[in-house]
């Protein structure tokens, strides 16, 4: 039996705060990734939906409806619209894992760790962002291979990335808030259609919002998804910004784009802050 003398006390708090937090964030994100993508099946299954949309649904709708009768390619239009389904589902399912953590996982151990508790939320967000990015890249690539016509420029990529990232942050904020407030998985799953799927049908994912009745079109303009999709299409599909004009009705497309980005940013900041606050409050009694 050998004896090992080891010093104790405040180990985690001796390193510079920023390094410590970054290290903890990476550790927690790696944990979440290991739990949610532990095998190839867990990575492949979420890709089925975007691949089906890009290869089957978008071309079929294009053929059945005869496209948009504009300069915009309908396969590309629907493919970008599908982001409005992929991201919410990825975020909502990530929220489900928060409930699993709370009931049968290591959440209590994580709450006992000497780290800011907001990192538990932000690390999950990092993984959702990575997963959503992966799905969106596959979706656009497959849609392009299937014949979708995209007009991708550097500034277009910037608009697309900004809109999709901020929308993902918003959706994860919603998911985290719900996960913290809803006690059981069954109740949480019951909320999924309303939160993740319903806005998809109002936000101009499959058709432009100007074809909606007036009241519904006005409602659509309040949804962050409508703004995010219009921005993503402005970036990748339609440099004329038809979707942005439908929302704002202004003559300057760039101004409209910045306004829509501000809307999505506002929703993202508000809901991720709400998600963190709700999680922190639910974690203590």
């Amino acid at each position: 039996m050998s004896a090992t003398a080891i010093r104790t006390g405040g180990l985690a708090l001796r390193r510079p705060a920023l390094t410590r937090r970054a290290s903890a964030l990476v550790t927690l994100a790696r944990r979440r990734a290991a739990l949610t993508a532990a095998n190839p099946r867990q990575i492949a299954v979420p890709l089925l939906t975007p691949i089906l949309f890009a290869t089957v649904i978008a071309p079929a709708l294009s053929k059945a409806l005869g496209g948009l009768h504009t300069h915009i390619d309908y396969i590309a239009f629907v493919s970008v619209g599908t982001v409005g389904l992929l991201v919410p589902l990825a975020a909502i399912f990530a929220g489900l894992s928060v409930i699993v953590d709370r009931h049968s996982g290591a959440q209590k151990e994580l709450l006992a760790a000497p780290i800011p508790r907001a990192l538990l939320v932000l690390s999950n967000l990092v993984v959702v962002l990575a997963l959503a990015t992966f799905q969106v890249v596959v979706l656009i690539a497959v849609a392009a291979l299937r014949g979708g016509i995209f007009h991708i420029t550097a500034s277009g990529v910037a608009w697309f990335v900004a809109a999709s990232v901020l929308f993902t942050v918003f959706m994860y904020g919603v998911a985290e808030t719900l996960a913290a407030r809803i006690p059981r998985q069954e109740e949480y799953i019951a909320a999924t259609p309303v939160v993740a799927i319903l806005p998809f049908f109002f936000a101009g994912a499959l058709f432009p919002i100007h074809v909606l009745p007036g009241a519904l079109a006005a409602f659509a303009k309040l949804l962050p998804l409508t703004h995010a999709l219009a921005l993503m299409r402005y970036g990748f599909v339609d440099h004329h910004g038809t979707g942005l004009h439908d929302i704002w009705g202004m003559s300057n497309t760039t101004t409209e784009a910045w306004l829509s980005l501000a809307v999505v940013l506002l929703f993202a900041a508000a809901f991720i802050a709400l998600g963190i606050r709700t999680f922190k409050r639910s974690a203590v009694s």
Binding site: A3, I6, A12, L13, A24, A106, K108, E109, P114
Partner: protein, 325 residues
Amino acid sequence: MQLTYAQDTEFDRPAIEVRALRKVYRGGVEAVKGIDFEVAPGEVFGLLGPNGAGKSTTIGMLTTTVVPTSGSARLAGYDVVKEPRRARSVSSVVFQEAVVDSGLTGRANLDLHARLWGVAPAAASTRIDELIEAFGIAELIDRPVEGFSGGQRRRLEIARALVSQPQVLFLDEPTVGLDPRIRHELLDVIAGLRSRHDMTILLTTHYLDEAQQLCDRVAIIDQGEIAALDTPAMLLAGLGDEILELRVDGDGDAALASLRARGIANTDAFAIGSSLTIALDGRPAGETIAAIADAGVKASGFMTRPPTLDDVYLRLTGAPIAEAA
């Protein structure tokens, strides 16, 4: 292998200081009613009481998952409300229920703790290997935890708590729900932790034998208040070397009052239903049994035995701990 620990903090400072700590939950339930205690570095301290007594709320306040309504608590000098992260950095918790990532391997669970508590990678690797060896989990450490038995998982959780070499280790009902064999194995493991100098252990349990076996001092907590706090030996001393148990026909309280009036039972005696427990205080058991018969109390099932913490608990709270739990 034996690990020894040297602390950074001053040795004259208590590892745990609790002052007038109180918790009232929403709805007005007062779970903890202004308790006070101190635990010295290296001490094993037991919080003993039934479910609902306030043990878990107390641990929750000390581990910063329950916000105190009033009062204060410090771990190694760090205020749990004002400096929660510092307080968490010097402590680890083994929870009552399973708190692990079942989909990850045992080693990944240990590694996660090391990283979150800021243990340097090289030191963490060495320490994890030592703990795996010390806790006898080398064979299964690289398998997913979902395949572990209850006892193996408990060992893993205790090993995990030690990876960061805490100054204060909280063990919240560590053996609850385990079968007797695994429970006794685990008690040996926990008893082994005592040899790790200067690590303070706060153990909650409603198994009185565990508290008696493991703790330097015990606080008996009942309905949010500390009913008694001392070493197990001193708590037992109040009941003498030997006690007499008997069963009476009819009302136990009335029989006890009658025996007290005749000086056969003193104030340490107590009745639970029709069972009486009387400290003999050096008198021969036969003499006391004869006196009970002379007093006209019809009794049977006489038994003498040394007192246990169970008797102390019954005397203080008036209910068996198992019944209260």
